[in-house]
């Protein structure tokens, strides 16, 4: 008799894709989502483990939608060659008609779990800056991630930081007239600096969903990039003409414009980075940076990831951050912490001089 365990095992085996004719063999299922399933597989030609993402036959939407979405994700990843973005090795079609792409297998820990182990702020912010690097690179190539969150970031075994799940990323429209325009209010404090986003405490529908693995799934993205072959994009494009589109992403990290289904640009990612930064905790200046990044109005946010990262970097090196108007006491304390040694030397010197004068006067 086939036991219950064997029955489940065999059923699972049948669900696994037929990789005959390819160079890959399934080792185990790593995770699944709305559009695809990610498997740990072995590349028999190179004798190495890889991650294989394959369209799920049972996914919502038409077969064509699923294929397009996975192909779109693979193409996005293929053009983003950066140490902080998982490289794609291969793309193809299985005998049963499903498409797949092979990517580097990332070993390590998800950022949210890494944080849960208890990390000091400087360490967490250093990782955050590495995330910013990868996202800024994508923005420079006109790609907006649209689903940034700690669950989509992996900390590798050797400290490498990788941004995953570009399944709902989209290519931004190019607006040549605005390419180098600086935002008018760049250094101005946003009006709502300390205000919580309207839905910040709202319970997102899928906030507690735990992706099973590092290669978490895309939600839904059926649109082909309109300008896929564009050269790297301007960093500070103006908001585009509203263009209703499917609401995709993770509610807790979605900017107001993304939640509203309006057109989004790279500043939606800056909002998500602000939510992530806020969760790291830290003093008022870090909270102010996070608050500015997740301002309700895109124009009130940092206008590029580099600006956001620069402010975080300023905090780490003990300098004044642009987003925070600090009280005098805080400023003195900060300056003292940053220049402790010379200040102590000067104070010691002055104390010695006073002492000598006092002794000489006796």
């Amino acid at each position: 008799m086939i036991s219950e365990a064997a029955l489940d095992r065999l059923a699972g085996m049948l669900r696994a894709p037929d990789l005959s004719g390819t160079r890959y063999e399934i080792v185990a299922e790593l995770g699944r989502g709305g559009m695809g399933i990610v498997y740990l597989a072995r590349d028999t030609a190179l004798d190495r483990e890889i991650a294989l993402k394959i369209v799920d036959r049972g996914a919502a939407g038409t077969r064509s939608d699923s294929l397009d979405a996975l192909a779109h994700e693979a193409r996005i990843l293929a053009r983003l060659e950066h140490p902080g973005i998982v490289p794609v090795h291969d793309f193809g079609e299985l005998p049963d008609g499903r498409v797949y792409y092979a990517m580097k297998r990332v070993r390590g820990e998800r950022f949210d779990r890494w944080l849960a182990a208890g990390r000091d702020l400087a360490n967490s912010l250093t990782v955050f800056l590495r995330i910013c690097d990868a996202v800024a690179f994508a923005h420079a190539h006109a790609v907006v991630h649209r689903d940034l969150k700690p669950e989509n970031v992996m900390i590798g075994e050797f400290g490498e930081v990788l941004v995953l799940d570009w399944g709902i990323a989209r290519t931004a429209n190019r607006e040549p007239n605005n390419q180098n325009r600086e935002p008018k209010n760049q250094s101005r404090e946003p009006k709502n600096q300390n205000r919580e986003p309207k839905n910040q405490n709202q319970e997102p529908k899928n906030q507690n969903q735990e992706p099973k693995n590092q290669n978490q799934e895309p939600k839904n993205q059926n649109q082909e990039p309109k300008n896929q072959n564009q050269e790297p994009e301007n960093q500070n494009p103006e908001p585009r003409t509203p263009n209703p589109e499917p609401i995709v992403g993770t509610p807790a990290y979605m900017s107001p414009e993304q939640r509203a289904g309006a057109a989004v640009d790279h500043r939606a990612d800056i909002y998500a980075l602000g939510v992530m930064l806020d969760a790291l905790g830290g003093p008022a200046s870090v909270a102010a940076i996070a608050a500015k990044a997740r301002a309700d109005d895109p124009a009130g946010r940092y206008q590029s990831v580099q600006e956001l990262a620069a402010d975080v970097q300023r905090f780490l090196s003990g300098r004044r951050v642009g987003a925070h108007r600090e009280p005098l006491v805080d400023r003195v304390q900060r300056i003292y912490r940053r220049h402790r040694v010379p200040i102590l030397l000067v104070l010691t010197y002055l104390a010695a001089r006073v002492l000598l004068l006092w002794i000489g006067g006796i």
């Binding site: 008799m1 086939i2 365990a5 085996m13 049972g58």
Partner: protein, 236 residues
């Protein structure tokens, strides 16, 4: 390459044949695939004793053959499996009303009921946990489908002079529980081969098993559409 095997004359289609020998042959295949799910279903759903369930199973297939139960099957309305179960429920209800008048057959159809084996399997299963009999019937049908494919795989491996391939598959993929499953390394030691050989043999066995399951499934479906739907339901 087409996603599914090409259409051939399925059991369900052959059951409607006007040629008696074709129908009988198809019925034998159908009985082979379904007798155990039917027997267990009658035992649990209808609280029948082992002997009564065996009689009802035998009588059901006999009556279905004689009265052409399955001729009215419309693949556009339901899966064949669901249709068969509906016929079975109706038959058992009627048989209970006409108590003691079960026709035991005159040799037209022989249901190879292995009562001790079926009972032993039922004892191993969590009988009291069954609340969804539709799901139970489906799972038993799946078990029967896999058992048939595994037996065919065993024969195919032996015929090709690769009995070791099936032995590895049996020990690794058919292991009764996770604790019994050897590692690839352990299998390699048992069979005196390398771990790579184990990987290759298991991959080949699984490919063949999948092919056999799909072939058996195709036999049990009336149309390409039903087969495609059943394949998708299996995830294959």
């Amino acid at each position: 390459m087409p996603p599914f095997p090409v259409t051939r004359h399925s059991i369900v289609a052959a059951i409607r044949s006007e040629r008696t020998e074709v129908r009988r042959s198809a019925f034998d295949a159908l009985v082979q695939a379904y007798w155990k799910p039917v027997f267990k279903y009658v035992r649990l759903k209808w609280h029948a004793s082992p002997d009564e369930a065996a009689d009802l199973t035998q009588a059901f297939f006999l009556r279905a053959f004689e009265k052409d139960f399955f001729a009215s099957f419309d693949p556009a309305r339901a899966r064949f499996r669901t249709f068969l179960r509906t016929c079975l429920d109706r038959f058992v209800a009627n048989a209970r009303q006409a108590e003691g008048r079960l026709k035991r057959g005159g040799g037209a159809i022989v249901v190879p009921i292995d009562l001790p084996e079926a009972e032993r399997e039922l004892q191993l299963q969590a009988r009291n946990a069954v609340t969804d009999f539709d799901a139970f019937f489906h799972r038993e049908w799946l078990r029967s489908l896999f058992a048939t494919a595994a037996a065919e795989l065993c024969d195919a491996c032996a015929a090709r002079g690769r009995p070791q391939r099936f032995a590895m598959f049996e020990q690794y993929d058919l292991a009764a529980d996770e604790g019994e499953r050897p590692s690839y390394g352990e299998l390699a030691r048992r069979f005196g081969v390398s771990a790579t050989d184990v990987t290759n043999e298991l991959a080949a066995a699984r490919r063949e098993f999948r092919r056999l399951v799909l072939a058996a499934l195709r036999d049990q479906c009336a149309t390409d559409e039903e087969f495609a739907a059943e394949s998708r339901a299996l995830g294959a």
